[in-house]
């Protein structure tokens, strides 16, 4: 497969929401090539680190040659990235993997927990551009950690927080089940595309809810996050359990896959820490 290994330049650094940095990178080829849901492997030069770090493109603008990444600091690599400033160079490998399937005309629901929201600005923009009706369900610990609704122009944005400081008090998955709740919701079953990204516990909760409410898993697309070595398919390190048996490579067949392809029973939280 063909990828660009190219030094790009940080055009802008800002705080997207509490605890999350947004880096805007100037790199026209990537901004043009990337599809919603794809990711890049970013090289980091932090002490004692070795591997690149995988990050979804939050959005891209082919016209200006810009591409955005939204992330939080969890360790040495993200700390190094967060310390970058305007004009600094960044070596990115990508775009990589398969993005979301955004074709079709059915209404779409984008549901995210925590930093899972980072992938959706570009996805929502692309869905809206295709004339689809889009609902964004965003969950966070607290109000300050929500990505502003303004980032999802044209979509119906509903939020939930663990501490009840904004929107529904509880899990973002509740918002989804409410949407499908009878009587109104029944008709929607299977008639909506669901795109999701978030911590594994949230994803498994969502899958359980889907099963309970008979939302076909085939209508759900999940952006998986597994540890990654290469990001291109050579290390076989990013395995995710396939329902059909064996494993799929998240970096190649994913990160965005249909939920019915995954053996959720074997899906361990991809991350230590």
């Amino acid at each position: 497969m063909s990828v660009a290994v190219a030094p790009a330049v940080v055009a802008e650094r800002s705080v997207a929401m509490a605890g999350a940095v947004e880096l805007v990178i100037f790199h026209p080829p990537s901004a043009v090539a990337v599809a919603p849901g794809q990711f890049f492997q970013l090289a980091v030069s932090a002490p004692h680190t070795l591997l690149r770090r995988p990050y979804s493109a939050a959005w891209s603008d082919p016209a200006s040659g810009r591409i955005g990444f939204i992330f939080n600091v969890v360790g040495a690599g993200s700390a190094w990235l967060a310390a970058l400033g305007e004009g600094d160079e960044l070596d990115l490998l990508g775009p990589l993997g398969r993005g979301f399937d955004i074709d079709g005309q059915r209404p779409a629901i984008c549901i995210a927990g925590g930093l899972g929201i980072a992938v959706f600005p570009g996805v929502v923009h692309a869905l809206i551009a295709r004339g689809r009706s889009v609902m964004v369900l965003q969950g966070a610990r607290t109000a300050a950690q929500l990505l502003p609704a303004s980032r999802f122009a044209g979509a119906d944005v509903q939020v939930s927080t663990d501490d009840g400081s904004a929107g529904h008090s509880g899990s973002v998955v509740d918002l989804l089940t409410q949407y499908f709740a009878p009587p109104l919701g029944e008709g929607r079953l299977g008639a909506v595309d669901i795109l999701t990204c978030g911590p594994t516990p949230m994803l498994t909760a969502l899958i359980d809810a889907a099963r309970r409410h008979e939302i076909p898993l085939s209508s759900i697309q999940v952006a998986l996050e597994t540890p990654m070595g290469c990001g291109v398919g050579t290390c076989l390190g990013c395995a995710a359990p396939r329902l059909a048996g064996g494993y799929l490579l998240t970096c190649q067949e994913g990160p965005c896959v249909r939920a019915d392809r995954i053996d959720w029973g074997l899906m361990t939280d991809g991350f230590h820490g």
């Binding site: 497969m1 004692h48 076989l236 395995a239 995710a240 991809g270 230590h272 820490g273």
Partner: protein
């Protein structure tokens, strides 16, 4: 202005490489998935470890980063030798770059069967016997015992005319003894080394990070260990030694060539800097030119003992 130095390598049995820079098994797939960069700097590709039947590999988590290194416990996920011979080899046959198949197995019979299946298959330039995989049951078994190592080498040697490289494990008290044994058993070359058995624990979840518990350590962290292994083996065996372990920069590769390696393999660095091979090839060339050396065979330095007088 000196003329371009000669970087070709003869690994024996007709396996001649245009460059001493190879890519190591498991870090370049079967040559189809790696980032598309210029491959003219490469001397050969070594494929992912291949077994008789397809293998699904280990459950996640399979990898973990450690200081300047990474642990992996992939578990030899591979499509099986038949698929490799039928689907991949024909495509390799159209390339200008030799592909060496890394062969793994649980028994002498399996190694032999895989080697047999690959013999005479167009596109297969040679075999690298992986008797050193720490990530499957019985994986290390053959590599840590000179007698078993010799037995599997001998058995494979008997069924194939392909150039035969045996890949050594460093997880032994005396790697030279194993190297000697496989040389006597008919190996055309040895590659040193495979990964070091290591471990990382998730202190929050209170369990090992990789599902298998332990994994193989690779990357810059192991470079000094791999270099010493090559230094020892190269001083003892009379077949080419391929140096592998932590090579990232031109100087790293030169260290191995100075230590007596005939060629080098790049592993983990392929994940991080796909352009490394080209940079290393250029760096070796520049080093030879600066010193007016005609070829890489002029690189190895004397054994340490002799150095005392320097």
């Amino acid at each position: 202005m000196a003329e371009r130095p000669d970087l070709t390598v003869d690994l024996g049995r007709g396996l001649c490489l245009r460059s001493p820079v190879m890519v190591a098994s498991g870090t370049f797939g079967y040559g189809f998935d790696a980032p598309e960069v210029d491959r003219s700097a490469l001397g050969a590709i070594v494929s992912k470890g291949t077994t008789l039947r397809p293998r699904e590999g280990n459950a996640p988590i399979r990898i973990a980063e450690t200081p300047s290194g990474m642990l992996n416990a992939i578990g030899l996920q591979n499509p099986g030798v038949d698929h490799v011979a039928r689907v991949y080899a024909p495509q390799w046959a159209t390339w200008d770059l030799p592909v060496i198949v890394n062969v793994a197995g649980d028994s002498v019979e399996e190694y032999v069967a895989v080697a047999r299946r690959l013999s005479g298959v167009a596109g297969v330039a040679g075999l690298e016997l992986n008797i050193s995989c720490p990530n499957v049951e019985s994986g290390l078994q053959f590599g840590i015992d000179p007698v078993l190592a010799a037995a599997v080498t001998h058995a494979v040697r008997a069924v194939t005319e392909l150039p035969l490289i045996v890949k050594l494990t460093p997880n032994v008290t005396d790697i030279v003894a194993v190297a000697r044994a496989v040389e006597d058993a008919g190996a055309d070359a040895v590659s040193a080394i495979n990964t070091y058995v290591g471990m990382a624990i998730d202190v929050r979840r209170r369990r090992p990070i990789v599902s298998r518990g332990s994994g193989g350590l690779s990357g810059p962290a192991i470079k000094p260990l791999a270099l010493h292994a090559v230094w020892q083996v190269a001083a003892d065996v009379h077949i080419p030694v391929i140096g592998v372990g932590g090579i990232t920069t031109p100087d790293d590769a030169l260290e191995f060539l100075l230590a007596g390696a005939a060629a080098v393999q790049l592993g983990t660095v392929n994940y991080v800097r796909p352009q490394a091979a080209a940079e290393i090839h250029a760096g070796i060339t520049a080093y030879l030119v600066q010193r007016g050396l005609p070829d890489i065979r002029a690189l190895p330095i004397r054994p340490v003992s002799a150095l005392a007088h320097v």
